[in-house]
Symmetry: C2
Subunit: 315 residues, 2 copies
């Protein structure tokens, strides 16, 4: 049996990063490219922060905090404490080692580096053999509509702890944003495309809001699979369930598959949602049930191997 060839995974933050780690483990070095949401990016303390890129990067480098899934394990917070004393915002938790990433990124961007290039440099320094690519080098910003008004994503997500009810979402700048050429080339060359179990609205949604990426994914001949971020009607973490509900979607693996229908050949849902397989079939999407809860490297790699095996069967 031949190898899976180049694999492209599309990811947001923690959930996406977990499957990315599994795929990197299951594939030959260099076979994986992860295209990451950047619509959560923000500027704080004058620094350019890319939370999803960092989460994927730290996870692939084995640096990430295993408990919270983001940030760097064992990091200190001296800089943030003094920044707070200077009057800076402290609601977005930035560790000291983490701060180095934002400082370096900001410096290199100010020197004219594209985010794609700067991310590649950071990953090389961390000895990451997979490629990590931002969906675009252009600024795109997720705005969340709530009864309290339209909020910046991190204001909704971190500062307000996802408590406001979500009535709408838009991706400011997405229409004008060109995809990075590296991301487009990776999708064109991919022999397998995997949508990680990330929030379909605010993690995968912004990536799919980039027209060039959306067009390529819609018309790709490589098998395209998603792993459901919803298990038994709830998200393992984050506000995906509340968002789906607020936007009028069914809060289930099936609801996610419906939203992503035009990009999908196959859909992996959790064993406990196996009763949805017939409905998936009537949606015209091949389904497979698997244990999708990833708690350690073994379960991450096992899920990745299931996904890659499923992809082979669809080719």
């Amino acid at each position: 049996m031949s190898g899976p060839g180049p694999v492209v995974a599309l990811a947001g933050g923690v959930g996406g990063a977990k499957l990315a780690v599994g795929l990197a483990e299951a594939l030959p070095p260099g076979a994986l490219t992860v295209i990451v949401n950047t619509a959560d990016d923000l500027s704080l303390h004058g620094l350019h922060i890319s939370p999803d890129l960092d989460t994927v990067m730290y996870n692939l480098a084995g640096l990430s905090d295993p408990e919270q899934g983001w940030g760097i394990a064992g990091d200190t917070t001296g800089a943030l404490e003094l920044l707070g004393r200077y009057g800076g915002p402290t609601w977005f938790r930035l560790g000291d080692r983490d701060m180095a990433t934002h400082i370096r990124r900001t410096q290199r961007l100010s020197e004219g580096g594209r985010l794609t290039e700067v991310t590649a440099e950071l990953c090389a320094s961390l000895n990451i053999s997979s490629r990590v690519l931002p969906m675009t080098d252009a600024p795109v910003a997720t705005r969340v509509q709530t009864p309290e008004g339209e909020l910046e994503f991190q204001d909704y997500f971190v500062a307000r702890g996802t408590r406001p009810r979500v009535t709408g979402v838009r991706f400011q700048g997405a229409e004008a944003a060109e995809a990075a050429p590296e991301a487009l080339a990776a999708i064109r060359e991919a022999e397998t495309i995997v949508f990680c179990p990330s929030n379909p609205i605010v993690s995968l949604g912004p990536i799919l809001a980039i027209r060039e990426i959306s067009d390529l994914l819609e018309n790709a001949t490589a098998p395209r699979l998603a792993v459901s971020p919803i298990i038994g009607g709830a998200a393992l973490r984050g506000p995906a369930a509340e968002m789906l509900q607020g936007l009028g979607h069914e809060v289930s693996a099936l609801g996610v598959a419906r939203i992503m229908r035009k990009y999908l050949d196959g859909f992996v849902l959790d064993d406990q949602d196996a009763d949805l397989l017939p409905s998936l079939k009537s949606l015209g999407v091949a389904g497979r049930a698997a244990p999708t809860v990833m708690t350690d490297l073994t379960t991450k790699k096992a899920l990745a191997e299931k996904v890659l095996d499923f992809a082979r069967s669809l080719r």
Copy 2:
């Protein structure tokens, strides 16, 4: 006996910061203004670093590392370690809490704040009752001529550990630099002017290279005193002795007094140099001997009181 009125101290890094702490302790709150050398400033990791301002500020805030005299006591270095892994320079040691100062300063400068304003904000956040003023808001950079070529100051001072022989010094930008209006106003209002025991060449030299400051100090009617940074022919720390020698000056308290002659009414030298008092007198500068080695708050305050007492006698 009336109080000393407003006092202006001129300072570089560690030695100057020590006497500034003593003066702040000896004077009523708000009476002290410290005008600080900024020709050592540098840009690293895209951040604006002002080593002498920070040393004075951290010392006045009681935050500084009592052993090394600069930096923040007990600081961690996680950010610098990862910046190094990203390929950034690590020869200039920056702690994590310290990093917050540079991040905040850089942000506020990029927003259009003047260095004088930004420094005032930082000091207010650290509850410093004295005023700390940069000598200018304009860029001035000390360049050190050596047999190895002309070096940036921190390259000479930190990276090369002051090992190269100094054959010349220039202050790039000083001629064009205007003094900050706050610094000029402070000197005009001062009833006592104190040159701290800082390096006369590269700490006080750049301040005196600002024409407007130099003119005001030369013509001030307030008593002007200096404390010798040279004791028994050597500097307590730093390359002052080697620099004086390299530039053809006598390496002694008297040599320093000669260089600063036109700015001085009184000169405080260490008890062990009391034999130089007659030579000072023939130079036309009032002299006084005192214990000038500052090892703790008590000795800092005691020296400050000696200096202020001496100033009263010259008024």
